[in-house]
């Protein structure tokens, strides 16, 4: 990555106070295994007619995006790039259920129309009359990271100078039960399963309002630990950093041992003396939750403050100075994503 890229604005809707960074001072904790989003006042952004026509996830995605665009004083971003593992899950489940139960008869097109994964990204374009580059990545735990990588590539190539990048996920009880049986979420003692809405604007323009700089990123499926270290070190070096210059690591640990073991092994081997942070205890787990991580790191860098509850209890190290944060996301010890963000 050769050009400077900044996060100009980022907004979230989760089970924390929506569209706000109140979570930094007044976080909401939960002991439930499944927590839905706390919806903002949609009527502040959408007319009642518009709101009625849209599903919950679509409304959250749109409202978070409208707030980001307003903060940036921008009408049309150059690109809208979306990461979502499951898209409009509720519509998909409803269409599937009625198709099977009604024996493929008497079906309404509405749920099908909303069920494709790109519905959210294209709905954002339709609502904001945006003809720019528009695409959607649906690759499980890497979906958001891939969307971010695409934005960085196009900025690097000079095709765009800003991009709206978002991560969107919803959940319903039946599907949660299935994910729980599969062992992905809902494991005893694990961080809650949540819904994801994160929208952010990346820009190549240095402005005082920017939250942080994205100094580098790398998505890989390494052929063993040596390959992983080589790729990570190459990314850090290109960003003018190395493993000893990292202020803190923000990992995707979720208190499910089958997931955390991969993180622990990596962090203990490569970063034994670096303070580690985690965010899923307050934002929850879902496939594109890594976007909460980037949102969280951007806010910590902007405020120059790491709330105590973000520190990973398994490591008793605290940050003296926060100049950068390395984000780590992984799936099944197979796919890894590293993002280096710096204070401006």
């Amino acid at each position: 990555m050769n050009k400077s890229v900044f996060i100009r604005s980022a907004q979230q809707i989760s089970f924390q106070q929506p569209l706000s960074n109140e979570w930094m001072s007044s976080p909401i904790f939960t002991t439930q295994s499944l927590v839905k989003s706390l919806n903002p006042q949609f009527k502040d952004y959408l007319s009642p007619l518009e709101a009625r026509r849209m599903g919950g996830l679509q409304k959250r995605a749109l409202v978070a995006t409208l707030k980001v665009l307003k903060e940036c004083n921008l009408e049309h971003p150059d690109a809208i790039i979306t990461g979502t593992a499951l898209g409009n899950l509720i519509c998909t489940e409803q269409f599937l259920e009625s198709m099977i139960e009604n024996g493929e008869q008497m079906l309404s097109p509405t749920h099908f129309m909303q069920s494709t994964h790109n519905t959210i990204g294209s709905a954002l374009a339709i609502y904001t009359h945006n003809h720019g580059y528009n695409t959607t990545y649906c690759h499980s735990q890497m979906s958001f990271d891939l969307a971010l990588q695409d934005a960085l590539m196009q900025m690097d190539l000079g095709k765009i100078s800003n991009a709206l990048v978002g991560a969107f996920e919803e959940i319903e009880d039946g599907y949660f039960g299935l994910l729980q049986k599969s062992g992905y979420i809902g494991v005893h003692g694990m961080d809650p399963c949540s819904e994801v809405t994160v929208s952010m604007l990346l820009t190549s323009i240095a402005e005082k309002e920017n939250l942080c700089r994205i100094a580098g990123m790398c998505i890989c499926r390494p052929q063993g630990i040596d390959d992983l270290v080589e790729q990570l070190d190459a990314m850090l070096q290109k960003a003018g950093a190395n493993r000893t210059t990292i202020s803190a690591i923000l990992s995707g640990k979720n208190s499910n041992p089958s997931c955390d073991n991969y993180y622990n092994e990596l962090l203990d081997t490569l970063f034994p003396k670096v303070p580690t942070l985690k965010y899923k205890q307050i934002f929850g787990e879902n496939f594109t939750a890594s976007a909460f991580g980037l949102y969280c790191a951007a806010n910590c860098l902007k405020e120059n403050y790491i709330p105590e509850f973000l520190y990973d209890p398994c490591r008793n190290l605290r940050c003296n100075e926060i100049s950068n944060i390395l984000l780590v996301n992984q799936e099944r010890g197979k796919d890894y994503s590293f993002i280096l963000v710096q204070k401006i």
Binding site: M99, H117, I126, T136, Y137, D150, S182, I219, F287
Partner: protein, 400 residues
């Protein structure tokens, strides 16, 4: 923009397994669309473009132990990926470093889930894994059959997804993230999307008739295709011969409606224009257009308008190969790129537009004779998706 070399391809569709069979069918004018035979649906009156093999027959081609637990889409993907890798001299288990896999799908593993759906409420871990098998798991299964790619990615923008996967791959090479990207898409037929398109009332009960005044909708198809995209340096280093060049691409959003295209084809026009500009070509340089051409009244009208806006009076020969394969949705972008490369650029013939009889009012007259009036050097392929995700590729003859 540096050119991206295409050094291999693999395909499976209703008109054949492998590049050779597909091109033979195009030459002979034999469609793969017919009565439903493999898909289990009550709507047997709807013609479809099925791959003429059972899941077990597909698995046998891949030496997978029977009965296979893979879904149909994964098997189709593996068959196409195997051919693509072999044609580019990449051996299974020996994927070169900095080789990535970017694959498109929407249906993913839905075909397997819908058959197991009635057991879901009381299923165990395996049943839950089938139910929650997502697009990323699906792509990983296809990739892992052949070794470890440097990254594995899934793009899902409905019917333009495979084209967008190719665009992502090209950008990765241009940004020096990758030396080689295997990019394309895969879609199997499912009850889910057959019923979905049926509720939208855009399925023709007969063979689809793209660009015909009496067109009545599309026929769904299935298949997979992958292209091996490669940097010039990697081509030289590996000593492989390119089959074509990916010289330009464009992606724009119609931003009009979730399932309908705008009357003036704004998104399509922008995607084509951007692709031409990226390739450094003029409209008159394009020798053939493989249209999106679904056969729905809305698409063909909107696409005609966009093509007329960009090309004016001098519209190049244009056809929709969906009259052979059916609309293979998320795979269509790569399937049609492979068909166009081999037919038009390599063998210098124009795939005809089957079932066309009556011109649309102020519409485009598609190709009905496969003989090209001039040498074919540059071609354009269009893929437009739900939500107005419109994309376009320009493919050129390689002089290497």
């Amino acid at each position: 923009m540096k050119p991206i070399y295409i050094t291999g391809a693999g395909i499976i569709s209703a008109v054949g397994c492998g590049v050779m069979e597909n091109i033979e069918s195009l030459k002979k004018g034999e469609t793969g669309i017919g009565p439903m035979h493999y898909l289990r649906s009550r709507h047997t009156d709807i013609p479809v473009g099925e791959v003429k093999q059972t899941n077990d027959e597909l698995a046998e081609r891949l030496n997978i132990t029977l009965p296979t637990t893979f879904g149909r889409g994964a098997l189709l993907g593996m068959v196409a990926l195997k051919e693509a890798l072999e044609s580019a001299s990449i051996l299974p288990g020996q994927i070169p470093k900095r080789t990535h896999f970017v694959s498109a799908t929407t249906v993913g593993g839905m075909d397997r889930r819908e058959l197991n759906y009635s057991n879901e409420k009381k299923c165990g871990k395996w049943g839950a894994e089938i139910a929650t098998y997502n697009c990323g798991d699906f792509t990983s299964d296809i990739a892992e059959r052949f070794g470890t790619f440097s990254s594995v990615q899934t793009v899902s923008t409905a019917c333009s997804a495979a084209t967008n996967a190719i665009i992502t791959g090209a950008n990765m090479i241009n940004c020096a993230i990758a030396d080689i990207v295997v990019a394309g898409g895969v879609e199997s037929l499912s009850m889910f999307h057959l019923n979905g398109f049926n509720t939208l009332m855009i399925l023709d009960r007969e063979q689809c008739k793209p660009f015909d005044a009496n067109r009545a909708g599309l026929n769904l198809g299935e298949g997979a295709a992958y292209l091996i995209l490669e940097s010039a340096e990697s081509v030289r280093k590996r000593g492989v011969t390119p089959i074509a060049i990916l010289s330009g691409w464009g992606n724009a959003c119609d931003a009009h409606h979730q399932t309908a295209s705008s009357p003036n084809g704004e998104g399509a026009y922008r995607a084509m224009k951007e692709a031409l500009e990226a390739a450094g070509l003029q409209p008159c340089d394009i020798d053939y257009i493989n249209a999106h051409g679904t056969g729905t009244p809305n698409n063909d009208q909107s696409e005609s308008e966009a093509v007329k806006r960009l090309f004016g009076e001098n519209i190049p020969p244009l056809s929709s190969t969906k009259s052979f394969t059916g609309h293979t949705t998320s795979a269509s972008g790569s399937i049609e790129a492979v068909l166009s490369i081999y037919a038009a650029l390599k063998e210098q013939f124009l795939p005809v537009n089957l079932n066309w009889n009556t011109p649309m009012e102020e519409g485009i007259i598609p190709v009905t004779s496969s003989k090209s009036k001039r040498e074919i050097a540059h071609i354009m392929t269009n893929a437009f998706g739900f939500g107005g995700n419109d994309s376009c590729l320009i493919l050129s003859r390689s002089n290497l």
